[in-house]
């Protein structure tokens, strides 16, 4: 189900169809209380947010609940967003990951996760996954960069980011000392940063 259009220009009805606003522009309108801009920002970001949250939580109903909380938080906190410190999507994805992790840890007892789930490839295996050319490219970039890590680095980073495990849990799961996990997480992320060309 590869679509030929990026999500940003999806065929949603637009209030200003001639020139879709960027996420940064939309967020600054949201900061002024503009709910129509919020609806557009939601259309652009919700599939990303839900995709990420569901990757961590697995449970669809819970993931929708957390996604709702995240967008409510975006609405409430847009007034305090400082664009000089990063783009709107960075802000939203960072917040989303943290909220997903919070929920995973809060529902620790009920979570249906094990080492295998955490470690396995981060390919999604869901129905109604909507893939676009853009996300396919991002996916492949990350996959390629991940291949450049050592096995232990890759496992540690995957468990932490995609599994929502704390570094001490990662240490237990991988049967290595916690200090080793810290180093692997840091070295792995630095390697990924370099491979992905992320620089501030």
């Amino acid at each position: 189900m590869l679509k030929l259009v990026p999500r940003d220009t999806d065929d949603e009805e637009r209030f200003a169809p001639e020139s879709p606003l960027t996420q940064d522009q939309l967020l600054s309108l949201v900061a002024q209380g503009d709910q129509a801009a919020f609806a557009q920002l939601y259309d652009q970001m919700a599939p990303r947010v839900l995709g990420l949250v569901r990757r961590l939580l697995r449970d669809h109903a819970q993931s929708e609940e957390v996604t709702q909380e995240i967008f409510l938080e975006i609405w409430q906190n847009a007034t305090r967003y400082d664009s000089s410190k990063g783009g709107a999507s960075t802000w939203i994805m960072t917040m989303s990951h943290r909220r997903a992790v919070d929920r995973v840890r809060a529902s620790q007892s009920s979570r249906d996760r094990d080492t295998k789930i955490g470690i396995r490839d981060y390919d999604a295996d869901y129905d109604n996954v909507s893939e676009t050319v853009q996300t396919r490219i991002e996916h492949e970039r990350v996959e390629k960069a991940m291949q450049r890590l050592t096995e232990l680095q890759r496992q540690a980073v995957s468990l932490a980011y995609y599994g929502g495990y704390s570094h001490s849990e990662v240490a237990t799961l991988l049967s290595v000392p916690i200090g080793t996990v810290k180093t692997r997480l840091r070295d792995g992320m630095i390697r990924l940063r370099d491979e992905l060309g992320v620089a501030s």
């Binding site: 839900l50 967008f71 609405w75 305090r80 990063g86 810290k182 840091r186 630095i190």
Partner: protein
Amino acid sequence: MIDNKRPDADPATLTGAYALNALTPEQRESFEAGLGDSESLRHEVTELADTAVVLGLAVDPVDPPPALKASIMGLIASTPQLPPLVTRAPSSADASASVTDIASRQETVADARVQNPAPVAAPRETPASRKAQSRWFTKPAIVLAGVAAAVGLIAGGGVLVNTIGDANTQQVQADALAAITSADDSQQAAAAVDGGGTAKLVWSNSLGSSAVMVDGLAALDDGKVYELWYIDGDGARAAGTFTVGDSGATWRVLDGEMRAGDLVGVTVEPAGGSETPTTDPIVAIQSA
């Protein structure tokens, strides 16, 4: 293993774990505190946090059901935004804000670059009341702001589900609600409902459109629905039906065109709705 001997919160070893949200809240706090004024450490944390975002963007998106959008739009329409953080003189503490904000920007201590000054409030408001209110409630065009502000339609962050129609309808409803609430002349008024509950009318005369949000209404027996009406000197025009679940809360955008000054009423009607009201309204709200 060597670094097992290091203090648990030595920031230099934890930048990766921090960027990946792999710290407990306590560890996170102590990490942020321990960052001190190390510029290179801050730089590293920012870059690793941005790298984590790329990992997040690589996850396949999942299309949310339209009901989720409808629910969220209803929620934000009745949830105040936080007041922008107050500008204050730069201090050494502010200098430490730049990195930790990557992960917790909503807790930011404002620096001198607050781009969104507080909304202009009505003259009679005190600074304290202004701070307590949302932009929503301080929009100058809003009448009965006091009444509306007093009606919290959402209790405890609960879910306000739009129960109207299929997914497609919900999408249209959500965008229509957003258009009404963001219109320059958006206004609102609230009233108590006979038999319990509250109703809030949000409308825009320029759009000729309105939405009703209810909370605490009784669920009806099968075979009955709530019906909305636009009422003026010429009579009542049917404007759609709705039901409420156990939560007693829902909202919908009214069908048809609203005329300035219409009264909006709700009656209980047989399933499918009536062409003219067959019972007395349980609530009626005057638009202006």
